[in-house]
C-alpha cells in the first residue's frame, strides 16, 4: 500500500494548522515524522487516518482520493489503516474486548450480537486473532483483565494490539512510547518491527529522534506546520539538507 499526502492544507477556525504538506509513505517500512511539540504531527496523522477532510489538497490511499469517494467506499478505505492515539484510549471493558473491537465493528448485525453476548469467544477465528495480537505485544493471557486495571505501558500495548488485530496495511502511531519506561519502549519497538516484517507499513509521530534512529527507514522532519525535509533515515538524521532540520536534529530550539 502507498499513502500520498498531496499539498494538504488544514485549518482550525482562523488558524492554519497544516500548510502545504507533501508526503509519500510505502508499506513494509517505518516512516517517522519527527518535529518539536505542537507543529501538527498529531493533526497530520489524523488527516491521514481520515478524521476530517483537508481544506485543500488530497489524501490518497493507493491513488484513491479519500475525500472524493462516497462515504461507503471511504469507510472501506479507512479500514485498511488503523491509528493508535497518544493518550490512554482503552475502552472500559476487558482487554480481549478492546482488542476485538475493530474486528467487531466490521461484522454484520448477527456477528455483533454474537459478540455482544459471547464476547471474543463467539467464534474461534475471532478468539485466535485476539490471542495473536496480544502475543505480538507480549501480553499473552491478559485477555480477561479489566482494561482500567492496566499500567500505562500495558494499556499502550493493548491499544497497539487493538489496532494490529484489524490487520491494517498501514499503522499510524502518535508518540507510541512517550512517558513509557525503556523496557516497555523496547517491547513496543519490537512489535512495530515485527509488524513491518509481515508487510505492514508504520508511520510514527515522535519528538524522540533517537527512536527514529532505532526503528525508522524513512524520516520526515516537520517544523512550522509543514514537512521541510523527507528522506531515508540515515541521510536525514546524519546529513539533513535544510538548516532548520539540522538545528532541530541537533537538539536546538527551532526558529
Amino acid at each position: 500500500m502507498r499513502i500520498t499526502v498531496e499539498d494538504v492544507r488544514l485549518t482550525r477556525g482562523e488558524a492554519t494548522v497544516l500548510d502545504g504538506v507533501d508526503l509519500t509513505v510505502e508499506a513494509g517500512a517505518v516512516t517517522a515524522i519527527v518535529g518539536p511539540s505542537g507543529v501538527g504531527k498529531t493533526t497530520l496523522l489524523r488527516a491521514i487516518a481520515g478524521f476530517a477532510p483537508p481544506a485543500a489538497g488530497a489524501i490518497r490511499y493507493d491513488g484513491a482520493d479519500l475525500w472524493a469517494v462516497e462515504e461507503r467506499q471511504r469507510l472501506q478505505l479507512r479500514r485498511t489503516v488503523a491509528m493508535v492515539p497518544q493518550d490512554r484510549s482503552l475502552f472500559n471493558t476487558t482487554v480481549a474486548r478492546n482488542v476485538a473491537y475493530g474486528l467487531g465493528v466490521r461484522g454484520g448485525p448477527l456477528e455483533r450480537l454474537r459478540m455482544a453476548v459471547g464476547g471474543v469467544q463467539a467464534t474461534d477465528a475471532l478468539a485466535q486473532q485476539v490471542t495473536d495480537a496480544l502475543a505480538l505485544v507480549q501480553l499473552a493471557g491478559m485477555g480477561g483483565r479489566a482494561a482500567r486495571t492496566l499500567s500505562a505501558g500495558e494499556a499502550q500495548r493493548v491499544a497497539i494490539a487493538r489496532a494490529i488485530a484489524t490487520d491494517p496495511a498501514m499503522l499510524l502511531m502518535d508518540e507510541p512510547t512517550s512517558n513509557l519506561d525503556p523496557q516497555t519502549t523496547a517491547v513496543i519497538e519490537e512489535a512495530i518491527l515485527a509488524a513491518v516484517r509481515r508487510g505492514m507499513g508504520v508511520i510514527i509521530a515522535t519528538h524522540d529522534i533517537h527512536q527514529a534512529g532505532r526503528i525508522a527507514d524513512r524520516v520526515a522532519v516537520m517544523i512550522g506546520d509543514t514537512i521541510i525535509e523527507e528522506g531515508s533515515a540515515t541521510t536525514v538524521l546524519e546529513d539533513a539538507a535544510s538548516p532548520a532540520a539540522r538545528r532541530f536534529l541537533a537538539g536546538e530550539l527551532p526558529l
Partner: protein, 231 residues
Amino acid sequence: MDLGAVIGAGPETTRYVTSIIRVSLQVSMTAVAISTAMGIPLALVTAFRRFPGRRLLTTVITTGMGFPSVVVGLVVLLLLSASGPLGTLQLAFTPRAMIISQTILALPVITAVSLSAVQAVDQSVRDAAFAVGATRRDVAVRTIAEARFGIITAVLAGFGRAISEVGSILIVGGNIVFTDGTSYTRTLTTAITVEARQGRYETGLILGAILLAVVLVINAVGAWVSARGDR
C-alpha cells in the same frame, strides 16, 4: 407476597392501593422510557455536533431540570383541553396526558445528566474507536457504552423526578378513581394529597412508604446493573 397483609388492609383497600401503584408505575416508567429514548440521542448531538443554537439548547435543557411541575401541568392541560389546540385528541384527564407532562419533566433531567456523562468520555477513546474502523454510529454506541454509569444515573434521576412529582399529573390527570374504587389517573403522590386533605393520615403514610419502597427498589436495580456493567 400479599400486599393486604403487609399494609394491614382489607381486600377493597388492597385493590385500590394496587391499582394506584400500577398506574404510578405505568405512567412514570413510560414517561422515563420515552425521555431516555429521546434524551440520549439529544445528549450525543448536543455534546459532539456543532450547530447554530447549540448553546441555547444547552441552556433550555439545564433550565428544564428546574421546570415547576404545576406550570408544566397547566401548560399541558391548556394544550390538551377541549378548546385547546390539541383538544381533538381528547387526551385531557387520561393517563396519556400524565405521560406527556412527566416526559416534559423527566426529559431535561435525563438529557442534562447524560450530556455530562457523554462529555466526560475522553476524546482519545472516541478517536481510537474511529481509527480502528468504526463508523460515526459505532462511535456513538461506544460513547454510550463508556458513559453507561452516568446514563444509568440519568435514568434513575429522571425516574425519581417523574414518580415523585405531584403538581402536573394532578392537573392533567385529574386524580380520577373509577366507580369500582380502582384508579384511573390517581397515582401514589396524588392519592397522598387526597388522603391528607381528608385527614386519613395513616393511609397517606402507608402510600408514602410504598412510594419510598418503589424508589428504593428502582435505585437498587440501577446499582446492581452498574455493578454488573463495571467490567
